[in-house]
């Protein structure tokens, strides 16, 4: 108990260092009446009530290396300011709408990767699997005339099966995930080329599910209320959820978020959500692809944070041995996580196909894989496992898509784009590693 946790000495309260309450040592029997003794350690920094305490807590976390999404938000602001100063078209509604549409496809891949990164592993096959998925969909629905929805389901199921296969090799046979998925990257790309055959490209009808994912589909048919309904829903859900949780916690007698903090969070979300809704309404409304992406984020976030399956993923990412001893089937978790990654890759592939209405030989190639990994890491999910949220897929994609669109606006070369994105990825990984070091130093390793 002598090392207290995350406190820079300057912040320590002026209490003399009482080495444990005396009654705890002298008479353990007496300590059985805990209600009488204060359960708070005097050396501990407790968060003060109200907004001031919230701010102090935030400062302390940042100094302790728990940066969360702070670097990426700052980075995004810098990127936007820089591009806006170079080209006044950057912060226009049309351009922002473009960013919000195009980030969805790679973002889907990034969601799957967040799951894999939480285990402390990597999936290098998501690019190829996304390409294969678009080819599977095109061959089934166009060449064989299958029902489009069934073809979508089969394409996603193919991705999940491929992911489960990778997971099997990794979890059961002990092959490093890096190698398995690298082999998959090549192999599944080959299968896609074989499927597409000599024609090399299959055009897909702009209809049904694929129409929804395309550039011409907007939520509620670009009705101006659509965007605001979504924003209101999001704020209401956050506010309602937080207040219900607060009252349950208050009833149970455990610490709860003060109302001021809930109001602050909901207010911040409201500002962002309604500003985004206003901007998108200036263009054509909210792209359906973006809505699906956000929906997927909400669902996966819920799964990771609120279900025991999600808890198991974090446990395996934190300590395999501890997870095993707690009775968690580690192999099953690993296989299922790779299946999830494969399924999201396949779904992302359909998003890509809907951007051009074709399945072609180049699908899933190029820098898609790197962009997806970069997005997850830039957004704040640790490469070392056990730390991160799916929202990093959104934040990271905002950064990457902003850079790409901005450089396109400035007519920069692809060469420069690659170099800049590479540098941003490196910066993100450096921040991840450094914040881990700081956390270790301040006892939050």
């Amino acid at each position: 108990m002598s090392k207290t946790t995350d406190t820079p000495p300057a912040d320590t309260p002026e209490t003399p260092d009482v080495p444990e309450t005396p009654e705890a040592q002298a008479a353990p029997a007496a300590a059985a009446a805990p209600a009488a003794a204060p359960t708070v350690d005097p050396r501990l920094l407790v968060r003060e009530e109200g907004f001031k305490g919230y701010l102090a807590d935030f400062k302390r976390k940042v100094r302790g290396g728990e940066l969360g999404s702070l670097p990426v938000v700052v980075g995004l602001a810098i990127i936007w300011v820089v591009f806006q100063s170079q080209d006044s078209l950057f912060l226009t509604a049309t351009n922002l709408a473009n960013i919000s549409f195009f980030l969805a496809a790679t973002g889907m891949l990034a969601i799957g990767l967040v799951f894999v990164l939480l285990l402390g592993e990597i999936d290098l096959s998501v690019g190829s699997v996304s390409g294969l998925s678009s080819a599977v969909f095109a061959v089934l629905s166009v060449s064989h005339g299958m029902n489009a929805l069934l073809a979508v389901i089969l394409a996603i199921a193919t991705g999940a099966a491929i992911g489960a296969l990778h997971g099997y090799f990794f979890a059961k046979l002990g092959v490093p995930a890096f190698v398995v998925t690298l082999a998959g990257n090549l192999g599944w790309n080959g299968l896609m080329l074989w499927l597409l055959g000599s024609t090399g490209s299959i055009s897909i009808k702009d209809a049904g599910f694929l129409h929804l994912l395309g550039q011409q589909a907007f939520f509620m048919g670009s009705d101006i209320s659509g965007a605001y309904i979504l924003a209101t829903l999001a704020v209401a859900a956050l506010l309602g959820g937080s207040l219900i949780e607060q009252s349950r916690r208050r009833k149970a007698g455990v610490p709860f978020r003060p109302t001021s903090e809930i109001a602050l969070r909901a207010g911040a979300l409201a500002v962002v959500a309604f500003a985004a809704a206003y901007m998108l309404n200036q263009a054509n409304g909210v792209p359906v692809a973006l809505v699906i992406f956000l929906g997927a984020l909400v669902v996966t976030d819920f799964v990771l944070r609120r279900t025991s399956y999600g808890r198991k993923i974090f446990a395996v990412g934190g300590s395999i041995e501890a997870a095993r001893r707690a009775g968690i089937n580690v192999a099953l978790i690993r296989i299922s996580v790779y299946a999830i990654s494969g399924a999201f890759a396949a779904l992302g592939g359909l998003f890509f196909a809907a951007q051009t209405y074709t399945a072609n030989l180049g699908a899933g190639g190029g820098n898609i894989l790197m962009m997806a990994i970069a997005a997850a890491v830039i957004g704040g999910t640790s490469l070392f496992g056990g730390r991160g949220t799916v929202w990093s897929a959104l934040l990271g994609m905002l950064v990457i898509q902003s850079i790409q669109t901005g450089l396109d606006l400035l007519n920069m070369n692809t060469s420069l784009q690659y170099m800049i994105t590479g540098a941003v990825l490196l910066a993100a990984v450096v921040i991840d590693s450094l914040s881990r070091k700081t956390q270790k130093a301040s006892g939050r390793g």
């Binding site: 946790t5 209600a35 003794a37 501990l44 025991s308 300590s319």
Partner: protein, 259 residues
Amino acid sequence: MTSAPVLALRGVSKRFGAVQALTDVDLEVHAGEVVALVGDNGAGKSTLVKTIAGVHPIDEGVIEWEGKPVSINRPHDAATLGVATVYQDLALCDNLDVVGNLYLGRELRRAGVLDEVTMEQKARELLSTLSIRIPSVRIPIAGLSGGQRQVVAIARALIGEPKVVILDEPTAALGVEQTAQVLDLVERLRERGLGVILISHNMADVRAVADTVAVLRLGKNNGSFPVAETTHETIIAAITGATDNAVTRRQARTAEAAK
């Protein structure tokens, strides 16, 4: 302690290939009793607790649980009976908070969703009845000191309402103050009516909290002593097998001279 032992080993033997790790070992643990299991390195302490924990099934002998013979073939069997083991490497997840670790693998759910509020409430109750002081149940394990991690690991073993708790070297890597905390906790386990098997190399710790000391030597029982009536030297002698040495001879002589 007149009642039947909650856990009893009768004539337990265990072989690994050509090595006879345990030969005909007996051990009894009553409810509300702390049994210290001591012995030199390689005496079979770890093997013995692993047979109880279900890691290594026994070859011969009987394990009795509350008077009835049972077979423990996997860790799950031991857990179902009510045996909880805290191993030396604590195996906690650094990235999860205290509540998450306490309930790992047996999360409470409410309509299929993690019931964080109830888990936090019960965790705080459990920790406060054990007088465990940690900064907050919501900080990651990585933010705790070694002693705090040890008490969390022990508290974690209590979540499943066990009847026997096995502690493997709980104070091995701890400082003075932290060792005191863990020993306090062992006493509180006894007050709760749990049977405790404590493996330790530290005689001072053993004498401080144990009721009975069971000595193993070369895989065999080498005496079981009530702590209150046994001298330090007797226990050390049983551990090392040195029943006749300079110290004991001198003691015998001075005792004779005193007569």
